[in-house]
């Protein structure tokens, strides 16, 4: 009895704060709420967007894999197979809005990574679907510049490890035409406005391209959009889908397409 009475008494006291107290209390709660909202936004940006992106990438990759058909891994002598030259690479014709390939990066992450490549670099593409292709640049296999963009951080952080590329590193692109092998040769950091890197021959206006290159653009430094990191690779090899994936990414391809 006594305890209840005391509790009630206390509640009575609490129920009649001064007007100033109530206003201060209200603003206090408002500020706490704002703080929590901001923290949640950061959590969403840094963590949740990666999960959303991974899910969306998985879906488009699965769809593409169905179109490409089963991966063929021929049972021939491997060394012989690697040396075989299949001639010049054909051009993969790109259709607006379509996801047309899967890129494999043996250098990225602990055991390499792979991501779908989609036509266009609008937000809805690179926020959700991994890698986007600049439609104003050349197609895979064409002479000139096959340029793509992806996020450095958040939304899948596809190009997080782009600064780790080193001599001899390969980047592979699997499309309906086959497997394109690109060999990394240079990385540079430029201003975000520097569109010259997308020219058929980067930085050189009006120069006819003599080789096929892959240009990857992303943010730099990490957690900022101050600059862009640009990684260049040259098309060094190609093989048809029937020949099976190149040795280095055989397991990755099987993993990605099963």
């Amino acid at each position: 009895m006594n305890r209840t009475a005391t509790a009630q008494g206390r509640r009575m006291q609490r129920r009649q704060p001064s007007a100033g107290n109530r206003i201060a209390g209200f603003f206090g709660e408002l500020l706490i709420t704002l703080g929590i909202l901001l923290m949640l936004y950061v959590v969403w940006e840094l963590w949740w967007t990666n999960i959303d992106s991974a899910q969306a990438q998985k879906e488009v990759t699965a769809n593409l894999v169905q179109e490409l058909g089963d991966v063929k891994v021929p049972e021939i002598n491997e060394e012989e197979e690697e040396e075989k030259d299949y001639g010049p690479a054909p051009v993969t014709e790109l259709v607006p809005g379509e996801t047309f390939g899967i890129m494999y990066f043996p250098r990225f992450g602990a055991n390499g990574s792979h991501h779908p490549v989609t036509y266009g670099v609008e937000d809805h593409v690179i926020d959700n679907l991994g890698i986007g292709h600049y439609p104003t640049t050349q197609q895979p296999g064409e002479l000139g510049n096959f340029a793509v963009a992806a996020h450095r951080q958040t939304h899948g952080q596809v190009f997080w490890d782009i600064d780790k590329l080193q001599d001899g590193d390969k980047i592979y692109l699997q499309t309906a035409e086959g497997y394109y092998t690109y060999t990394w040769y240079a990385t540079e950091i430029v201003a975000p406005s520097n569109g010259d890197v997308l020219l058929p021959t980067p930085h050189q206006w009006g120069v006819e391209p003599t080789k096929s290159i892959l240009t990857m653009t992303t943010c730099h430094p990490k957690y900022s959009t101050q600059q862009r990191m640009i990684a260049y690779s040259e098309l060094t090899d190609w093989r048809p889908l029937d020949a099976g994936p190149p040795q280095e990414i055989r397991d990755m391809v099987i993993d990605a397409t099963s």
């Binding site: 986007g132 996020h151 190009f159 569109g195 653009t217 992303t218 943010c219 959009t225």
Partner: protein
């Protein structure tokens, strides 16, 4: 504000705690799935990775 909401939840104390937790979870999910993706069109601190062209 929060004290008022908590006082006005129905049921005994344990149920009100449960209700409060569910409310919090619902609000967080709503923010994560709808509000923040929508907000992201207007404020994106570090999500512009393209170069040399105005992204739509």
């Amino acid at each position: 504000m929060y004290a008022w909401i908590f006082r006005n939840l129905p049921g005994p104390l344990w149920l009100r705690i449960l209700e409060a937790l569910i409310l919090i979870a619902a609000i967080v999910l709503l923010l994560m799935m709808y509000v923040f993706p929508w907000l992201n069109q207007y404020i994106s601190p570090f999500t512009d990775s393209t170069i040399g062209q105005s992204t739509p």
